[in-house]
Amino acid sequence: MKTPIKTLAAALTALSLAAGGAMAQDDPFKVGFVYVGPIGDYGWTWTHDQGRLAVEEHFGDAVETVYAESVPEGADAERVITQMILDGADMIFTTSFGYGEATNAAAGRFPDVYFEHATGYLREHPNVSTYSARFYQGRAVIGHIAGHMTESNIVGYIASYPIPEVIRGINSAYLHARAVNPDVEFRVIWAYTWFDPAAEADAAQALIDAGADVIMQHTDSTAPQTVAQEAGAISFGQASDMIQFAPLPRVASIIDNWGPYYIRRIGEAMEGTWEQSDTWEGMPEGMVLIGEMSEAIPEEVRASATALMESMQSGEYHPFTGPINRQDGTAWLAEGEIADDGTLAGMAFYVEGLTGEIPN
């Protein structure tokens, strides 16, 4: 099946190389971005698009960017990627986990195009890199703030899907909330969506009805912020700053900052120094930021949260430092032991103290 397509691809690549060689000088380097949501989500996709705009600003006329939004994962993604390449793209960023198979399939057919796949793990060809951010560092800071600020001692958490990244976030937020407030409880609702304003709003309302006065979200829309605002609960911006909801309900935020990574990788590709890599950066590198902490947070909490943030930025503190037990009471990390990246990447268990089960 693949052979004729490969031949076709090779022929196309040869053609484009022959044509490109002559006018490589004034031809801008073309970069395509594939987005899973609408760029107007003010969350996940919006932050990737901010990264794309940062690229345009940095390189000016030397780089041209194109994008496609709301691209379904699966066969549609592979088609969009291919069309971008036929349209002249030299490099492709696919910004959702579900694009992994499509990205690698396209990479096999177009060996001269650079591929960067966000939050994935598949690198089947030398021209595919993966990248992600250590969002759990941000979760530690907002967990710390939530633990201090909750009065009902119930924190509501809107989770998307039961996958390692989401479970890691819940664990990190819970550990740091409990560290400052031993009575805190987390209520988790699995929304089974990344972006569905109506479902997210329902989940937020259900959590508030269950007594939560703090709402955390691992979904992309601003709907939970609106619900929190009406209910007088506090919330945290997710992926983007969501500053339009400050100072209340949004008291702080976890910001994904992709621009510097995009600029670096595109620059390397243009210079020919690009190499396959598996990047997992966080606060020290500036890929994860904490949005401005609003006045609604008591001053001493702002100070302690800032100190926690700085300890991670400098690399001296790791949010998963022992002693930590698993939910079933078995030991995971001994005193002072730090979780290794492999365990974190595949995390499929709750830490001790969290109630409820991870759904199957």
Binding site: M1, T3, P4, I5, L8, G32, P38, I39, V66, Y67, A68, E69, S70, V71, P72, E73, G74, A75, D76, E78, R79, V80, T82, Q83, M84, L86, D87, F97, G98, G100, E101, A105, G120, Y121, Y161, P162, I163, P164, Y192, G342, A345, G346, M347, A348, P359, N360
Partner: protein, 361 residues
Amino acid sequence: MIRLEKRPTPSRFWGAATPVVAVILTMIAGGIMFALLGKDPVAAIRIIFWDPLFSEQFASYSRPQLLIKAGPLILIAIGLSLGFRAGIWNIGAEGQYIIGAICGAGFGLAFYPSENPLIFPGMVIAGLLGGWAWAMIPAILKTRFRTNEILVSLLLVYVAEAILASAATNWLRNPDAMGFPGSRNLSRHPGTDNPELIAGTGMHWGVLAAFIAVIAAYVLMNRHVLGYHIRLAGQAPRAARFAGVEPNRLVLLCLGISGALAGAAGLFEVSGPAGQISIDFNSGYGFTAIIVAFLGRLNPIGILFAGLLMALTYIGGELAQLMLGIPAPAIQAFQGMLLFFLLALDVLSNYRIKWAREAAA
């Protein structure tokens, strides 16, 4: 004063002409919208309708993609159209598509890593049965308890989505994926793959099945007594009962066939273009197929063309996004206009427009 006068029988001329007029009106209205967005309307229309088929740069890739995108739409829409003609409304093809894919993929993965050539046929049967069984839930509830099949079939989509998420993150998860969701890749494993049958055409078993379904539905509706019963039940339910049509049997048959075809479409997709069970494996084919069924006038040949046209607006719409930076919602609005004009113009085939003075009326 415009007056509408019902035609005794729908106009054949307008029945054939309205799709063309609707496409032209969509181009005009869509062109105005693109112009308002500051994009070149002529270029946009050309990129959407012309470039995927004929441009040197894209056509050799886009044309096969047209079949890949249209295949499942046609296969599902054919099944739905039988029920719709009989007044049986299966709105939950999306759920049957998901369950078919899960059953078929589950069957294939149960034998992993065997490459036995009998596995794929087994997967197809599992897919058909999965979709059929999922459609039997609203069918049996309707025949036994008079529940509304529209609501039951629709709500079962959400149940199916939950099962899909559970399969992708748990019991069908690829054990080699380090905890990440998603099943093993079926399309890259001999024995479970649904390959391209003729190189460079995009034709896979699912597209072939869609073409066979079109022919079978045509024969069924025009030459077989069941087709007559379906039409009769839709047009004159009372007369149908006198003619010996058993309504419960028709419900079971129509929902069963549409469920089985939707399940098969899901199986062909998961073993071919999509490749694996993933959290968001379903991308709305089951719902879009409802539009395709009506766009094609519930007629098998019409559905064939409607599916291809729908696929063209998807693929051309993506190109317009890339090349002109037209936002995705504008493309969706454009697709919506097409449906709107088509249904609005239906008036012309069912009614005659009379210009009359008030006094005369």
